[in-house]
């Protein structure tokens, strides 16, 4: 496994600078992994704005269910049909369900996954293993352009009859699917699961195909195109994490893609994969008899979507590990335990999906098995945390923006990881399931962990991508505000969930036992708006630095890994000569002539 393989030049020869593609070939339908990575980055940052805006509308409704938000219709004209004046300037409950459904969908499928595996997976894997490009450059280009139908379909779904999908990102049948037996999109069964939901399923399908093409590419590239001397156990953890993530995606994604197709045929052709024998009755309207079970969808969906949580976390863990070592000026503590624990998370990640279904109709005996597996998956995460802290121990810490964000990742991952243990205790999980406790947990993992990892990685590799540095003072201001405000926005959700506050409620003040929590809901809404504003600092920093940032040298952070041996930005074909790797990636500190030894340095 760990033997050295030379780069097969016949595979990558055509991108090695022999031909000069035109503008379209270079910047639009490019097969260069770096351009594709940057395309993914821009798309993800763009959709972060969309997803964030949707979240703020959700918060506005939960915090202030009685106030008029009619003023928004003057700012965003398209909102007028969802916030009609005859409703006293409030949004309709159906619109509210669309908001949180699309917020989750956009953030997961169009922001987090494309940003992590699309942008950084593409940009970093060939550079960090010393390859000239991906193994399959054309497949790589297709993988990016298959995202655009997903982008387009999801955005278009807001404008179709009935609006976007409003059945939650989990899309449980029969709410999502029991609407087309009478051949129309306007059946009374689910007014907001009509054409919008059909487009949603198509978008998930395209996004799945795109990710699958990426995964095949990453796995092949890592296995076959490593530079001489780059053994598997000399790969930086960033590459390890992206490699394990690609395997997870390749194995788990078909489950979701197939399930999406099954639900699509249920909706469009009247198949009955998820419709029970007795059918579903909605008042006087009935679907007719089926032959399936919604439970089947839950199993297929979570067989992908639980590993997806690790798909959305592992690459951030890998990148944070690399950034920590660079700015600690100290070797990463426990490289092998780190690799083993990531592999363990990858393996166990496949047998814990049942913990999303403790309260569903699943046989409780199977539940007991899922309890054990779910508990065990906490262990590798704990091991990783201890190794990160040991890396920082006795270090000469440089407080750069990437470092602060990486430390923010650790601080917040501890909360997100520890709150996950409650979910592995089935009786407790049943109680907090579908309450704000879960919303808090997933945001501590996906926002406060992964997004801090992404902010760290973006600022860290920005010089390599664009040849310019992002502003440090602006970056630090963005970090300080985001760190405090994200905690203000999401931490109180734990308390809300402990109090039994169900998620996805249009107006919680209807319930006597929830009324004491309403000031807390308002507190979180105000924090969320400020948090949203703070992200504008990041955007300003990002776009301003593209043109006016300080010019970057090839290796501005004194880092060891291979990408810093190439010029900033690297040319077509990446390296002037194929690098030869002689050591691991984390030789920092120590007694030598310099405080770091690049992977190619022979002395």
């Amino acid at each position: 496994m760990s033997q050295t393989r030379p780069i097969p030049h016949d595979v990558t020869a055509h991108v090695a600078g022999h031909q000069q593609p035109g503008f379209i070939g270079r910047y639009i339908f490019s097969t260069d992994h770096k351009v594709i990575g940057i395309q993914y980055l821009f798309s993800a940052v763009l959709f972060l704005l969309v997803g964030g805006g949707l979240a703020l509308l959700v918060r506005l409704q939960v915090g202030y269910p009685d106030e008029s938000i009619g003023i928004l219709t003057r700012l965003i004209p398209g909102l007028a049909r969802h916030i009609p004046p005859e409703w006293g300037g409030r949004m309709s409950p159906e619109f509210y369900t669309m908001l949180f459904t699309m917020h989750a969908t956009v953030m997961i499928f169009l922001v987090i996954i494309p940003w992590l595996t699309g942008a950084f997976g593409n940009f970093l894997i060939p550079l960090m293993i010393g390859a000239k490009d991906m193994a399959f450059p054309i497949l790589n280009m297709l993988s990016y352009w298959f995202m655009w139908p997903a982008f387009g379909l999801l955005m278009a779904s807001f404008f179709v009859d009935g609006g976007a999908s409003g059945v939650g990102w989990t899309a449980y049948p029969t709410l999502s699917s029991a609407d087309l037996a009478d051949g129309s999109f306007a059946s009374p069964a689910a007014r907001h699961a009509g054409l919008g939901q059909t487009l949603w399923l198509l978008a998930v399908f395209f996004s799945g195909v795109s990710s699958m093409m990426g995964s095949v590419n990453y796995i092949t590239t890592v296995l076959h195109l490593r530079a001489p001397g780059m053994t598997l156990l000399r790969m930086p953890l960033t590459v390890w994490s992206l490699f394990i993530t690609a395997i997870l995606q390749a194995v788990a994604l078909p489950s979701l893609t197939v399930a999406a197709i099954m639900q699509l045929t249920d909706k469009v052709f009247g198949t009955v994969f998820f419709l029970p024998p007795g059918g579903a009755q909605f008042g006087a309207w009935s679907t007719g008899a089926g032959g399936g079970q919604p439970l089947l969808w839950q199993h297929l969906f979570w067989f992908y979507s639980h590993p997806a949580v690790y798909i959305m976390l592992l690459p951030a863990m890998g990148m944070v590990s690399d950034i920590l070592a660079v700015f600690s000026r100290k070797p990463l503590f426990g490289y092998r335990p780190m690799v083993y624990s990531m592999s363990a998370i990858g393996g166990l990640g496949f047998i814990v999906w049942g913990h999303h279904m403790f309260q569903s109709g699943m046989d409780p005996r199977i539940g007991a098995g899922f309890i054990i597996a779910t508990i065990l998956i906490a262990l590798p995460s704990a091991v990783k945390t201890f190794n990160w802290l040991a890396t920082l121990w006795g270090a000469n810490i440089q407080f750069t923006t990437p470092m602060l964000n990486a430390m923010g990742f650790i601080s917040m991952f501890v909360i997100g990881g520890l709150s996950g243990i409650f979910m592995a205790v089935a009786p407790v999980d049943v109680n907090v399931h579908d309450t704000y406790f879960i919303v808090a947990h997933i945001h501590y993992v996906l926002f406060l962990s992964t997004l801090f990892g992404l902010f760290a990685a973006t600022q860290f590799w920005f010089p390599k991508m664009f040849g310019r540095c992002m502003s440090e003072p602006l970056g630090k201001l963005h970090f300080a505000l985001t760190f405090i405000l994200a905690n203000c926005t999401f931490y109180p959700m734990h308390i809300l969930g402990i109090g039994g506050h169900p998620r996805r409620y249009f107006d919680p003040t209807l319930y006597e036992f929830l009324q004491p929590f309403q000031p807390l809901n308002r507190f979180m809404t105000v924090s969320a708006i400020l948090l949203g504003l703070a992200q504008l600092i990041f955007l300003a920093n990002f776009f301003f630095s593209l043109f006016f940032g300080k010019k970057a040298s090839a290796n501005p952070w004194d880092s060891n890994t291979l990408e810093w041996q190439a010029p900033s930005p690297p040319p077509h074909g990446n390296f002037e000569t194929t690098p030869v790797v002689v050591r691991g990636p984390y030789e920092y500190g120590g007694e030598g002539a310099t405080d770091h030894l690049p992977q190619t340095a022979t002395a």
């Binding site: 007795g278 190794n387 802290l389 270090a395 243990i421 579908d434 300080a480």
Partner: protein
């Protein structure tokens, strides 16, 4: 007998709000601004003293810990406990909370410490790549604790899933040996809960599963209200006619999905009554915990646990006679029998 729709009306076209009332002086509005100012201040001071970044992490962790403690002490916490099982669930919660607090405090303290620690001599850290014994220690100790937590919860899990004998793993439901005191079918539909009890004067249905899917004409029906008596083991047959709903009784720490096409037998323990000595009622609400459409948030109901079996029986008989009276007046109005002869009580 429908439940009072609540202390506030539904969003309706009649009620109109004109603007966004916003009081900056309210603590929940002022506090985020204060904390933003703190973050801004740390950023400013860190230009001069970089170790001030440790304060940001320290303050944050301290606020999280203090705020959690304050919430628990001031009743912004779990709702009142309605059964011994609910108390068991809460003690499991507290066990996990205790363990994670130790890890939270330890890891945050180490993280903050590393940010203020003395820089290594000459700015060069020792080139340490790992430590075998340390890895073993921090794998085995959390591993042992986790295995303990995994095993400690199993009896409660079995009990929660309707297992009355003390085994670790729940067994499947067997209608023949169902020893529950009260049988009720709860059917979710957009957007209400329909409760159905067997006729109190008749015999208990021989096969509860069969009865759940084939209503008898003499059954007693209720909407959005679940009644039982203190100390009863209630067998609830959970069904839905349309989409997935989740029957959530926060005070009982009870939550069970209703799946289309399935009848799910669930057991509810009622060890406490919510009728006070003076006859007033503490409101124990029912909520839906699985998105079921636009009015998901309106599936509000309530649980009434009568202090004893006699008062429950009296309530059920009352409901039965009201229901018969309604049927009769309906039949008289239509001048046709509402129920085919022979099925009449």
């Amino acid at each position: 007998m429908l439940l009072d729709p609540g202390t506030k009306p539904a969003v309706s076209q009649a009620t109109e709000t004109t603007g966004f009332a916003f009081n900056w002086a309210a603590p929940e509005h002022a506090l985020p601004l204060v904390l933003t100012a703190v973050a801004f201040l740390v950023w400013l001071v860190a230009f001069k003293f970089r170790k001030v970044w440790a304060a940001l992490f320290g303050i944050n962790a301290a606020i999280v810990a203090a705020y959690t403690t304050w919430s628990a002490r001031n009743n912004y916490w779990m709702p009142e406990i309605a059964s011994e099982l609910a108390a068991e669930v809460d003690s499991l919660f507290n066990l996990v909370l205790f363990l994670v607090t130790i890890f939270f405090v330890a890891t945050q303290a180490v993280l903050v410490y590393t940010m203020v620690q003395k820089a290594p001599e000459g700015g060069r850290a020792k080139s340490v790549h790992g430590h075998h014994i340390l890895e073993l220690v921090w794998t085995v100790i959390p591993g042992a604790l986790l295995v303990y937590v995994a095993l400690a919860q199993l009896p409660t899990w079995a009990k929660m899933k309707g297992q009355t004998a003390g085994t670790l793993v729940p067994v499947g439901y067997d209608a023949a040996t169902d020893a529950a005191d009260l049988l009720v079918t709860v059917t979710g539909k957009q957007w209400e809960w329909r409760m159905r009890y067997a006729d109190p004067s008749g015999s208990k249905p021989a096969n509860p599963l069969l009865w759940a899917s084939t209503p008898a004409a003499t059954d007693v029906h209720m909407v959005n209200e679940l009644h039982a008596w203190q100390g009863a083991k209630v067998r609830m047959m959970l069904r839905t006619t349309d989409v997935i709903h989740s029957f959530f009784l926060p005070h009982f720490r009870f939550k069970q999905d209703m799946l289309p096409g399935k009848t799910i037998p669930a057991l509810l323990y009622t060890d406490k009554s919510n009728i006070n000595a003076d006859g007033t009622e503490r409101l124990w609400e029912i909520a839906c915990a699985e998105l079921c459409g636009g009015n998901h948030y309106r599936m509000r109901g309530k649980v009434v646990i009568h202090p004893d079996r006699a008062s429950f029986n009296q309530w059920l008989n009352d409901q039965k006679s009201r229901q018969s009276a309604r049927k009769e007046s309906l039949a008289a109005a239509n001048n046709t029998p509402a129920i085919p002869a022979g099925n009449e009580e």
